[in-house]
């Protein structure tokens, strides 16, 4: 039953990724699609943290920044292959999350919000101010992953946009698969029970602090991998990737689509990624529209878009 639902969701996602390119008016849209998938990946991490375990973070862009700069600096200074640098970034993010997670996750509500916010800001400040290492606010270039050249040698010629569309799409699918596995597993149930009642969770033997920490670490790794992919596909990265606004964007995407739902979060990522593209003609109105969308969705569709729509459809069916 639950397993079937998991495969249906994954199939829908895979079908969308496969079919959408047929409707692209130009090659540029592969880039947009790849960006949506990367954002979707980091937002799925937040689904685990916010939707499953009920903890907020306003600093997860910090982990995205670590992942991104690992891919920029690893090859340059350690001679690492960019792919290995991605893994190194994920390990560093995971360990850092483990380290700061324990004291931070004792906090609740707004206190947790400000602590995570502080963490994110510290990371982005480090990236901005350590010019010698990071290139400062102007950013730094990122070495190519080299996979496309490999494919070309094998006789498969695809554009950079197409390659990253496919690669990010696969990463998103894997991320969604892991998150859906977790949802219906002992660990996932333990995390979700915290959301319902921490006291009750602990009286059935669930180590509340440990489960929160797990969700925090897992979501940090998601954000880090997404940051790495973003750096690799752009070939360039600035400290904005770790900035406060990026953290906010991530949380908004998650909440907009439906924070308890993997598909919903991906939808949220798609909408907020597309918004600036659609509004390029009215660039000055972008912030105005973004702000209005955030407020209106929270007031009228508090569960997020996808769960609210699903609920409405089900209501009509009965």
């Amino acid at each position: 039953m639950e397993a079937r639902r998991k495969w249906i969701q994954l199939a829908v996602l895979a079908a969308l990724i496969a079919v959408l390119p047929f409707f692209f008016p130009s090659g540029y849209y592969y880039r947009v699609g790849a960006l949506i998938f990367v954002n979707g990946l980091s937002v799925i991490g937040l689904v685990i943290l916010i939707g499953y375990a009920g903890q907020i973070s306003l600093g997860h862009a910090g982990f995205a920044g670590i992942g991104a700069y690992a891919c920029a600096l690893g090859p340059q200074h350690l001679g690492l292959h960019p792919g290995l640098a991605l893994i190194l970034g994920a390990v560093i993010s995971g360990l850092l999350a483990l380290l700061i997670g324990r004291p931070i996750l004792r906090l609740k509500g707004y206190y947790l919000a400000v602590a995570t916010l502080g963490f994110g800001i510290l990371v982005s400040m480090l990236l901005t101010n350590e010019r010698a290492l990071t290139g400062g606010p102007d950013g730094i270039s990122v070495e190519d992953l080299g996979l496309r050249a490999l494919l070309r040698d094998l006789g498969w010629r695809i554009s950079g946009g197409e390659f990253w569309y496919g690669a990010s799409g696969i990463a998103l699918l894997v991320g969604a698969w892991l998150a859906l596995n977790l949802f219906d597993s002992p660990t996932g149930r333990a995390m979700r029970s915290l959301h319902g009642s921490e006291v009750a969770a602990s009286t059935v033997g669930i180590d509340v602090a440990r489960q929160k920490l797990r969700a925090f670490v897992i979501s940090a790794v998601y954000a880090s991998v997404a940051g790495s992919l973003l750096a690799l596909q752009n070939g360039f990265i600035t400290p904005d990737v770790a900035g406060f606004m990026h953290s906010i964007e991530m949380v908004t995407m998650a909440v907009l689509g439906g924070v308890g739902s993997v598909l919903g979060a991906t939808l949220g990522a798609a909408i907020l990624t597309l918004l600036p593209q659609v509004l390029t003609v009215f660039a000055e109105y972008e912030q105005l529209v973004l702000g209005a969308v955030m407020i209106l969705v929270m007031i009228f569709l508090p569960q997020g878009l996808l769960p609210s729509i699903a609920r409405r459809l089900r209501g009509r069916g009965e």
């Binding site: 004792r106 400000v114 006291v199 909440v255 912030q287 105005l288 209005a292 407020i295 929270m298």
Partner: protein, 290 residues
């Protein structure tokens, strides 16, 4: 020694602004349990509206008054249009709503005004006053004085007036306050108006020193929020102390360590305080009832 005094002067000036923003946070938090991330935009609006009203020919005091009133009206509108309809929503939703409001206000300001940096003349001139080898701008005294006046005004309001006590009662227990006949909806409207006005006042006072542009609100909101947290959310005394402490800390860091990392040290200290005292310096410990 002179340098230390100089750093203290600049720290207290900046700290007074943080304290005003933190007081704004506190008032709204007490009345509605909402942390209003748009608080920084009130400061921006205070500065910007004054600038443009002054340019349009209004005398400065009148322009400032207009800015404070207009911002208060925007605060009330924010409550009526975005906060009240979402009553009872989870913390994450409320955070998104107020951040959305802050982005919206910023976007509107950028359209209505412009993206330039602006200032208007200081109230009592720009000649620094010499104090024991250090100097302080007359406008700094206006800022510090403004923060103190607002703080004592609020203290009188909350302890001596029936309306103020109603706000406190609502903060303490909304349902009980309603039962004894307090109009909690009016209390919330009042709180948003008051806190927007205080934010705008901060903007009016500090613009001659720091200048104002459409995007200064985010930074101020974060610092004010941090200051409020540092002192213990919901405690006006905590907001004042937290704001001043944060301002001093930044000035000392900028002076003695690194001006690039002055913001960083503030957040490090906040993290440290939250780790040791999860409820802030003046926060209350509460036992969860089950």
């Amino acid at each position: 020694m002179d340098a230390l005094l100089q750093f203290i002067f600049s720290g207290v000036t900046v700290g007074a602004v943080y304290a005003l923003v933190a007081l704004g946070f506190t008032i709204i938090y007490n009345a509605s349990d909402v942390v209003n991330f748009a608080q920084g935009e009130f400061v921006m609006l205070g500065g910007m509206i004054t600038v443009f009203a002054h340019q349009a020919g209004l005398p400065l005091p009148l322009a400032a008054l207009l800015a404070i009133l207009a911002t208060a009206a925007i605060g009330v509108a924010l409550n009526k249009l975005a906060i009240e309809p979402a009553r009872g929503a989870p913390v994450v939703s409320l955070i998104i709503i107020t951040i959305g409001a802050s982005i919206l206000i910023r976007g509107a300001a950028q359209l209505i005004f412009d993206k330039q940096l602006h200032r208007f003349p200081a109230f009592s001139g720009d000649d620094p006053i010499r104090v024991m080898g250090a100097t302080i701008l007359p406008q700094s005294l206006w800022v510090i004085g403004g923060a103190l006046v607002v703080f004592f005004g609020l203290w009188l309001f909350f302890t001596r007036t029936l309306t103020g006590k109603a706000v406190l009662a609502t903060a303490n227990n909304r349902v009980a306050a309603q039962l004894v006949g307090i109009n909690t909806s009016w209390v919330m409207t009042l709180s948003f108006g008051l806190s927007a006005a205080i934010g705008a006042l901060a903007g009016v006072l500090v613009t001659p020193i720091t200048l104002v542009a459409y995007d200064v609100g985010v930074g101020l909101a974060l610092k004010g929020f941090a200051a409020a947290m540092l002192g213990g959310m919901g405690n006006p005394k905590g907001a004042l102390v937290g704001g001043l402490a944060l301002g001093l800390l930044e000035a000392m860091t900028a002076g003695y360590l690194s001006s690039q990392y002055k913001d960083a040290v503030a957040f490090i200290v906040i993290l440290a305080v939250l780790f040791v005292m999860p409820q802030g310096i003046f926060g209350k410990k509460s036992t969860e009832r089950v």
